[in-house]
Symmetry: C2
Subunit: 502 residues, 2 copies
């Protein structure tokens, strides 16, 4: 009874923190999508205020005291798994936050708001120098941040663990090495295949209004609740918000409708995950999403495994053609499927095909690792990037906005985030392999337009589990096995040998 | 020196309050313009959290203590006018806030967020009953609020003073009585005039994209800084934000371009006032806007005295026609001017002509007064509204969304706000009379497109003065006289006798 009171007080404090976090998210979303460029300083003060407030609440000594009392209580062992997991997560986040000085939170937040604006400007103007001093500053601050959290570990290791609990450079190497090998092998076979995708097909001009209509239709088709979310355009596609207010963004190109189409599917995956988090655990730490890797598993799965599948387009191509007027009326199913899955080295990560995608991630992982190990400097970044791009993906960078400053992540200080995308591919393929076991005729259904059976399965098995487990345990809980790259490799081999006929 | 430290601490606290207020404003703007309808409960928690936080900061006993110390200090009299005014405003707001219990702030904020959503729903569905229970609740809460502030005064008097310092029912009567008389007289003359506006002209269909282009052009023309603001569409036009982030909204009708055109001019007036507040006094109480009446003086002045003037359209009509393609190519200047100034009883306040507009306000003022005096109930509102509409403006209400639920104000608890619109007309006409004295050939300039001389004058004389004076003193400071309705009456008589030829 005594312990229950403390536990409830803690949950109340957690709810307060989430409300503050929601406010910060609206401000961030607004910055990306709506904010006039001239109000960046004002916004940086607002964001710094909210972040400092959240930090103050998160480091309230009462939290530490109550957690200690509960853990030392004789009845502690009688608590349920869920209660103990909540306590574990509260303790972890409390311990992390109390290591960071409040002044640092303020400085870091202000700088990142400004840096994001400078990144946008640099990207528009193809001018690295506009962004460089801010990137340098954010990089230094991020190192400092990691050092606060754990001065005994290399900064990059700290960050990897922050975005994906338990991950290390070593563990990522074990995923990336076989994946790289399989990818190189696959690319060679694809190169030698006689089947050549018709790229002109996806270059047909599609008016933005039509693409917007398509976005909405896809979101509904994938069971995104439009009463509890929205879609807009922004410089970089992302998903923001939580629970009943999920906002996804995309970007449109007149001469490449696939850019937005698959971005929308991707962000819809993120969005549905958030919308389907367990309602009864709302505002509890265990009711939050599990990790960035699990988040990306859902987005990559919606986008690639479902969204680029033969079965989906068997059902959807005719509807798509109808929606597009007569732009694609002559297009054949086989040509379309090959075109939207065409494997081709390209410059932009978010537009990369499923096979080369992981190379984009490995490239970023290696650059981040070397940056934090001091092997390369922010000054050298563009040069290193271009060289690695040539080596890894075999392609020359034409301009810096298609190169090292294409992604928003570093501008906000998110170093160590990128590897979670490939982790998402790994988890996603493994989840789907399980789904296929449980719904063997999934493709028969999908060919008739039954997407709901698939999203329902994901909701029940992944979304509804919130943050009840750390990622490897969640994967085991869902699939019976710890994460294993073999499912992703098998998925890629099966799919592309079929598409390219080898 | 000792006193300076206290004063600076107070100003720091005031800045913190404004940052919180800015966050609340972004959340409000977002609710009106962007928020998915399914997240209203979540938003109400966020808004309640921010409002409660602001209230906590505003009632910090340290504020009271520091103010007391400064005022009792032997050197108090050596403070400048500006410093004393800051102290006066801080004391006033502190005294107000400390009378309100924090739980009330939370309840009131939550209810108003929900009530606004219900109002939107009721308006869309033409169903008063969807809104009525919420309006009842908001009305009761507002009475309670007024009672907290001053239990010795009738609630409506407290609210009038809250929106416009110093105003009372008595003082409003003194403004409304001669204005009503002059209006009735004018309407009679207009009725007898042989000149009849061609209403078909403003009913010509104008595609929304063209109207959007027009909005942007007008904002720029009126010297709104587009780098520090934006425009969107919403159910009810309004202006939100402050300093470097000013957001106006409008609403578009395919068959009445004037609806948006003049709403944009109106909100641009509000927006420019906010953008031009004294930069060096930013975040100080004296750096804020003066009052709602002064705010409305700028919006009504931009909209009517400049925006509907002969001189403005002498300059702008050709440009307007060009922008509109060939929709208005046959239109003659005299017909256009009469059409956009056409006096005709109508249902919707924000679209009313300059002459009948004040009758819409008087109607609302009388209803609010009677509501608070208990002479009518929320139940009877639609009936009373329709009856008064017939009596005062001579027109039948066709549906409730054009009647008592047309305005957003009551849904958010803003009872006592409406009369400030007419006050704005009074102040605006008086300001402009002074401007005409100082720039006698203003119309010659305006005919050539020189709007900047006018907006510069308003910026220098009104905007830059922030909240240095209470409204009557500001009017005296600018014009040399206390507020006087005669300038508005003269403006209306001069303008409409010319237009209607009597």
């Amino acid at each position: 009874m005594y312990m229950k009171k403390q536990y409830d007080t803690l949950l109340k404090k957690m709810k307060e923190l989430r409300v503050i976090e929601q406010i910060a998210q609206i401000l961030s979303w607004d910055q990306e999508v709506m904010m006039p460029k001239g109000s960046v300083m004002q916004r940086s003060e607002q964001q710094a205020y909210v972040a400092t407030l959240a930090h103050k609440k998160q480091t309230d000594p009462v939290i530490g005291k109550l957690l200690k009392e509960i853990k030392e209580h004789t009845d502690y062992e009688t608590l349920s798994y869920q209660e103990k997991r909540n306590i574990y997560l509260m303790q972890r986040d409390y311990d992390r936050a109390t290591k960071i000085p409040p002044e640092f939170v303020e400085e870091y937040t202000k700088e990142s708001v400004i840096s994001i604006e400078k990144w946008k400007e640099a990207r528009t103007n193809n001018d690295y120098n506009l962004f460089k001093p801010h990137l340098e500053k954010l990089f230094e601050l991020t190192k400092k941040y990691a050092n606060y959290l754990n001065p005994d570990l290399p900064a990059y290791e700290v960050l990897l663990d922050l975005y994906e609990p338990g991950m290390t450079i070593e563990k990522y190497n074990k995923i990336f090495d076989p994946l790289k090998e399989a990818t190189v092998e696959l690319l060679e076979k694809i190169k030698q295949s006689k089947r050549k995708p018709d790229f002109s097909l996806i270059r047909r001009k599609v008016p933005i209004e039509l693409q917007e209509k398509l976005s909405l239709e896809l979101m509904k088709l994938f069971n995104f609740d439009m009463d509890k979310g929205r879609i807009d355009a922004s410089a970089h596609p992302f998903t923001g918000g939580e629970y009943d207010d999920i906002r996804i963004t995309t970007r449109y190109a007149l001469d490449d409708f696939t850019r937005s189409l698959f971005a929308v599917m991707h962000e819809t995956g993120h969005g549905c995950y958030e919308q389907n988090l367990p309602n009864e655990l709302r505002y509890q730490p265990i009711g939050n999403y599990c990790s960035m890797g699990i988040h990306e598993s859902q987005s990559r799965l919606y986008e690639n495994i479902i969204g680029r599948s033969k079965s989906f387009w068997w059902f959807y191509l005719e509807k798509f053609k109808k929606l597009m007027g007569d732009i694609f009326s002559d297009v054949k199913y086989d040509d379309f499927i090959l075109a939207v899955n065409a494997v081709q080295p390209s410059l932009i990560r978010v537009e990369a095909d499923e096979v080369t995608y992981n190379l984009h991630i490995i490239l970023r992982f290696e650059i981040e690792r070397d940056l934090f190990e001091g092997k390369i400097s922010i000054d050298e970044l563009p040069e290193v990037w271009n060289k690695k791009m040539k080596e890894t993906i075999g392609i020359d960078v034409d301009k810096i906005s298609n190169g090292v400053i294409q992604d928003i992540h570093w501008s906000g200080g998110s170093f160590g985030y990128f590897p979670t995308y490939t982790l998402g591919n790994v988890y996603g393929a493994q989840f789907f392999a399980k789904l296929v076991q449980e719904i063997p005729d999934w493709n028969v259904g999908l060919e008739k337009g039954d997407i709901k059976s698939l999203t329902d399965w994901l909701t029940k098995n992944v979304h509804h589990k919130g943050n009840l487990y750390d990622p490897p345990e969640l994967v085991k809980e869902v699939t019976g096995e710890l994460p294993d790259t073999k499912y992703l490799i098998k998925h890629l081999k099966d799919k592309y040998s079929y598409l390219y006929g080898f």
